[in-house]
């Protein structure tokens, strides 16, 4: 692998559907943590809920085949099922924890996300969730593929060349990212956003001004969670549903992306997600190159490749300590209080 191809594959991450899905999840987390101060460590759980609800609905109900619905309606219905599932999940999480101290929410969300993952991969539910193997992409992508207006074979240029299906996923996923960004921008300039940001700073003060803090926190949790679920749908459209993709590590990467770009900024999550994937691909390529040159002795390639995750961890630490406001954040508007 030469250096140019490393650059190429890193560049291709900029527009990849995975980056778009990741950006959606990060925008959701930004609503939680960046704007509302909610310590959600279960964003991967929301993604899993969305991905599984979407895929299972499509496979089990399959309104296109059983009810004769047009494919677009079936697709939208499946996405709505994912959204509703995320709303229910958010309510279940929020009702007991939003009254408690913030770090309880952290522990409960991380635990709940793991419960989801353990539950979908248990062998007893293999008939529904596919167990630890997950669900095959071909089983739920039919409707979405049939909606594809693109008929050619490949689109794009240079590193951004993709098949018709892949291009279709990109168009939809990135459109949703734009919608989410506009939504966040509209909300955060409004009085609603002001209340949310006030709660982040000091919820007792906001309560003393007559605002129903609990209700607002719940709204924020649901909204960010719904974005996470939609991200989950976008995440599995170009691949299969694998339970272990939704492990705690995924949540931590979303956090890294958020803090990299800048929490409590509109475009921070987008920038952070793109940079995260580009850098991951780039460092992976470089390590591979070095491995090919024998730098790591007789260590296997995949073992040497772990270095880039070490780098992610270090980057997260350095970022949080030295530039907590991220790249886009305002120096005065540090993203952490206290």
């Amino acid at each position: 692998m030469d250096f140019l191809s490393i650059i190429n594959s890193a560049a291709s991450e900029i527009l990849s559907p995975t980056t778009a899905a990741f950006a959606l999840a990060t925008i959701g987390l930004n609503i939680h943590f960046g704007y509302s101060g909610l310590l959600n460590f279960g964003q991967a759980g929301f993604m899993a809920i969305g991905a599984y609800a979407f895929a299972i609905f499509t496979m089990m109900v399959d309104p296109t085949a059983t009810l004769g619905w047009p494919v677009w309606l079936s697709f939208i219905a499946a996405v709505l099922v994912a959204v509703v599932a995320a709303v229910i999940f958010a309510l279940i999480l929020g009702i007991p924890t939003l009254r408690l101290r913030g770090d309880y929410l952290a522990i409960v969300t991380i635990a709940a996300a793991e419960i989801i993952r353990f539950s979908v991969r248990t062998q007893d539910l293999t008939a529904i969730t596919g167990g630890s193997q997950g669900l095959r992409g071909a089983d739920y992508k039919g409707d979405f593929d049939a909606m594809n207006p693109l008929t050619g074979t490949t689109y794009g240029f240079g590193p951004w060349t993709a098949t018709a299906y892949d291009t279709w996923v990109r168009i939809v996923a990135w459109s949703l990212v734009i919608v989410a960004l506009v939504l966040v921008w509209l909300l955060m300039r409004s009085p609603w956003g002001r209340v949310i940001k006030g709660i982040r700073e000091d919820e007792d003060a906001v309560r003393s001004l007559g605002k129903n803090v609990y209700g607002y926190k719940m709204q924020a949790l649901v909204l960010g969670g719904v974005l996470g679920a939609v991200a989950g749908v976008m995440f599995v459209l170009p691949r299969a549903v694998q339970p272990d993709n939704f492990a705690t590590t995924m949540t931590f990467y979303i956090w890294t992306a958020l803090l990299l770009g800048g929490a409590a900024t509109v475009f921070g999550p987008l920038l952070g997600s793109i940079l995260f994937w580009v850098l991951l691909s780039f460092t992976g390529g470089v390590i591979n190159l070095l491995h090919g040159m024998g730098v790591f002795g007789d260590m296997s390639g995949s073992q040497a490749g772990q270095i880039r995750f070490v780098l992610i961890g270090i980057a997260l630490m350095v970022l949080v300590i030295f530039r907590p406001q991220g790249i886009l954040g305002n120096k005065k508007e540090l993203s952490f209080n206290v």
């Binding site: 009085p191 002001r194 006030g198 906001v206 003393s208 007559g210 508007e333 206290v338």
Partner: protein
């Protein structure tokens, strides 16, 4: 009012004889049998107390007397074990704190709670009530709330000018001095057009240069027809601006009376001397000591039943970063 050394037995505000728990001619707040226990410790045990309408009432007492806890109970930030209390004739038992505020009973905090990463103006606007744009769906459509926002901004600007914060309008609240934050908190409370303002130690930590202006603002509230209830250690302030003084000690109301004579009441002297006689008059150090004690007083167990019924109450926290001061293990063994 007089300079007599014997406390008077009647007073224009009082219906009947002056004394702890006496009836007022026109009370705005009436509390009955309010008890709050933390474990075995009874922090508040108020048999009966009334706050006169349209007046400035001071709530004083030595450290650990339960003043802040009583404040928290009245405003719904904490739940009593038993008791009833009403505001303007309506019961406030089991009313969550934000609804208490909506009824016109707005409080400030001992440790100022300005919202640091919001600008001064945003802090102010947050105080305005019944904002359409605070609904999540209406928020998306600016035309629905732009007009109201405009009106609120004008009102906020007027208040900022009055509190001499207009130059700081666009600054983050975190950049204000301690005294300015107190002013901002008071101004923000006024944005909601309350009928009762409850100030928890408005002078604590305030630069002496700002003291006079704060005093004037408190008097100004009364002039506008609001009732003020404040907790204070600084007797200077109490004497200057209050119309009525209520003294608490060990959770109980031990004395009431006009400010000129209250310090001569034997119960008050006992209360102060019996507890911490060094805490009466507000020097800065004493206030700091007071703060430490009040902090300890604020430790409130979460009562699950109470949170069940509460809209939003006893629980706490400031964004998760709050460190729990934890349970003493020895106590559990």
């Amino acid at each position: 009012m007089s300079d007599t050394t014997t406390p008077p037995t009647t007073h224009p505000l009082v219906d009947g004889e002056v004394g702890p728990g006496c009836k007022k001619v026109d009370p705005i707040v009436v509390a009955d049998g309010v008890v709050r226990q933390f474990g075995g410790l009874t922090a508040v045990d108020v048999e009966h107390v009334e706050i006169p309408r349209g007046m400035i009432t001071a709530l004083i007492g030595p450290n650990g007397a339960g003043k802040t806890t009583f404040f928290n109970l009245l405003t719904g930030f904490d739940r009593p074990n038993k008791g009833s209390w009403s505001f303007d004739g309506q019961s406030l038992a089991h009313v969550p704190s934000h609804k208490v505020a909506r009824r016109g009973m707005v409080r400030t905090f001992q440790l100022t709670k300005s919202l640091g990463r919001l600008t001064v103006l945003q802090n102010m606007l947050l105080g305005a009530r019944d904002q359409r744009g605070e609904g999540i769906f209406a928020a998306l459509l600016k035309p629905l709330w732009a007009k109201q926002e405009q009106a609120n901004t004008e009102r906020a600007d007027a208040l900022l000018e009055r509190f001499k914060l207009d130059a700081k309008r666009e600054d983050y609240a975190a950049s204000l001095s301690g005294g300015q934050r107190k002013l901002l908190e008071m101004a923000r409370a006024l944005m909601s057009e309350p009928s009762l303002v409850m100030l928890d130690e408005p002078m604590a930590g305030v630069n002496p240069a700002l003291t006079q202006s704060l005093l004037d603002h408190v008097k100004g509230l009364k002039a506008e027809g609001m009732t003020v209830l404040f907790v204070e250690h600084d007797m200077h302030m109490v004497r200057h601006i209050s119309d009525w003084v209520i003294v608490m000690a060990e959770g109980k109301v031990v004395a009431e009376g006009p400010p000129e004579t209250i310090m001569q009441d034997q119960a008050v002297v006992d209360a102060y001397l019996g507890a911490h006689h060094d805490t009466d008059l507000g020097t800065l150090t004493n206030q700091q000591v007071a703060q430490i004690h009040e902090d300890a007083e604020e430790e409130v167990p979460v009562d699950p039943e109470a949170s069940d019924t509460a809209g939003s109450g006893t629980e706490t926290s400031t964004g998760g970063a709050t460190r729990v001061t934890t349970d003493d293990e020895e106590g559990q063994r």
